[in-house]
Amino acid sequence: MVNTKVNLCGITLDNPVIPASGTFGFGYEFADLYDINRLGTFSFKGTTKDARFGNPTPRIAEVEAGMINSVGLQNPGVDAVIANELPKLKQCFNKKVMANVSGFSIDDYVYTCEKLNGEDQIGWFEVNISCPNVHGGGLAFGTSAENAAAVTKAVKKVTDKPVIIKLSPNVTDIVEIAKACEAEGADGISLINTLLGMKINLKTKKPVVANKMGGFSGPAIKPVAVRMVYQVYDAVKIPIVGMGGIQSAEDVIEFMLAGATAVQVGAANLVNPFACRDIINMLPKTMEKYGIKDLNEIIGGAH
């Protein structure tokens, strides 16, 4: 018997596999497909102060070994999340959920986190300071250590739940930003968010997605993600949630060797709604194949 349990900021996960925000809605729609309590947890759809429709369509482009999306944080707003989404989730999920929040000002983040802080279902905040799709400030937080630190500090003041800061990979120095968040009390770092990418349609001769650029994810970006997890692990003491192109139990192990305590699965969910279940099913056998008895032993093992 292998051990797949890991501890993420004081909460035990049965396994380190977490569907990434924006690929699993608010969870309950997936409960028809399989028992979502098998997941470590999941990160719910990025939630903002006000409801947002997001960007114009087309929002999706396929690229080699990945995809580009420019959804633009479509969500019903924090009040509707509390009133409608969390109660529906409660019907089918008895674990703590990760609350992914986004904002366009520090006040936005504070407002949304304060509102959600009272919800018992929420185990962690995952503060997205990196979504590349939204114009007007959303980009800036994730690309400077000062702004990343300022968001961390403000959010930490309004919640006692663990705060995980989700970093953008579109930066010169990911380590500096991770350290700045840690210094302001971040309880964890999750990375990487999507790379900023573009695809041009040769027939129309224009970018495929209406918003021109979008977030690039999928197996194509895994080497960048593994590298950044590895770099950040060397620099901070708080746990890392690794992600970027994970689609197999092998990938989970690779990210944990790089330094991740838990991992998120994003784009793979969109190709196969059973992806996380399948990865969790394969995990014990894959651990045995590589001589791993306890996942906790391999965190950062490649260093």
């Binding site: 809605g25 997936f30 999706i60 396929e62």
Partner: protein, 243 residues
């Protein structure tokens, strides 16, 4: 409810220069309405390819698809006996149980296939559908005979007049109908919207990420809130659509 499964290709053959028919064998239990679609994983492609279901029974699914890019070109080269990984039971299909007796089924090009199973369902309900199939030209015509064999009236329109009514589907609509169902390109929808005199259902296309409601890639605004083409659609009622 979405199901994933492996399906065996029984037939895969060309109907026209660019339109193919593929019959797949496997679990069809997730299909519950005409106008739903399947999402197909192809080797070497990251995202699945959504293809509307033309017809299905308890053992097989018939897909009719047009070669428009690398993915569908790859499909067109597959042989009987090869297998495909499909998600089935996707989308909120046509609702044939609306009050009507003489519905029009209006299909344009590759929008035609999902109307076939719909037509069968309408006939089962005792309704008397008329089918209008719009093409650019004679060489593109497909599935007219299949509809005729169902015993319904079929009107063909071609833009160049090489067969049937010269012009667009709207030139053949007349006014002897009490409802309509349509699937086809957006310019056709806009033309229909201008002249249609009854309620109806439109089946939309949008570039999708997942096909099952997770990614919000294909959202649209309706009079009753945001909807996902892949999950809340692809069929929307005329009354809710914002053009």
């Amino acid at each position: 409810m979405v199901k994933q499964g492996i399906y065996k290709i029984l037939y895969n053959y060309a109907l026209t220069d660019t339109v193919y028919s593929m019959v797949l064998e496997g679990d069809t239990s997730a299909l519950i309405a005409p106008g739903q679609f399947v999402n197909i994983k192809l080797d070497g492609k990251f995202l699945r390819r959504p293809i509307s279901v033309c017809d299905y029974n308890d053992k097989t699914i018939t897909l009719i698809y047009k070669v428009v890019g690398e993915g569908t070109a790859q499909m067109s080269k597959m042989k009987a006996g090869e297998t495909l990984d499909l998600l089935t039971g996707l989308g909120n299909g046509f609702n044939p149980e609306v009050p009507c007796q003489k519905p029009l089924l209006i299909g344009g090009g590759v929008g035609i296939p999902p109307l076939y199973n719909l037509c069968k369902e309408l006939l089962k309900l005792g309704k008397e559908p008329t089918v209008i199939l719009g093409f650019n030209t004679k060489s593109e015509i497909f599935y007219d005979k299949a509809f005729e064999m169902l015993g319904v009236k079929v009107i063909i329109t071609t833009v160049d007049g090489s067969t049937g009514v010269k012009g667009f589907v709207t030139d053949a609509m007349g006014d002897d109908y009490d409802y309509f169902f349509t699937c086809g390109p957006m310019p056709m929808f806009k033309a229909i919207e201008k002249v249609a005199k009854t309620s109806g259902q439109y089946s939309f296309e949008e570039r999708m990420g997942c096909g099952f409601g997770a990614c919000m890639g294909c959202s649209c605004k309706t009079k009753y809130g945001n909807k996902r083409i892949c999950k809340d659609g692809p069929v929307l009622y005329r009354e809710e659509i914002i053009w």
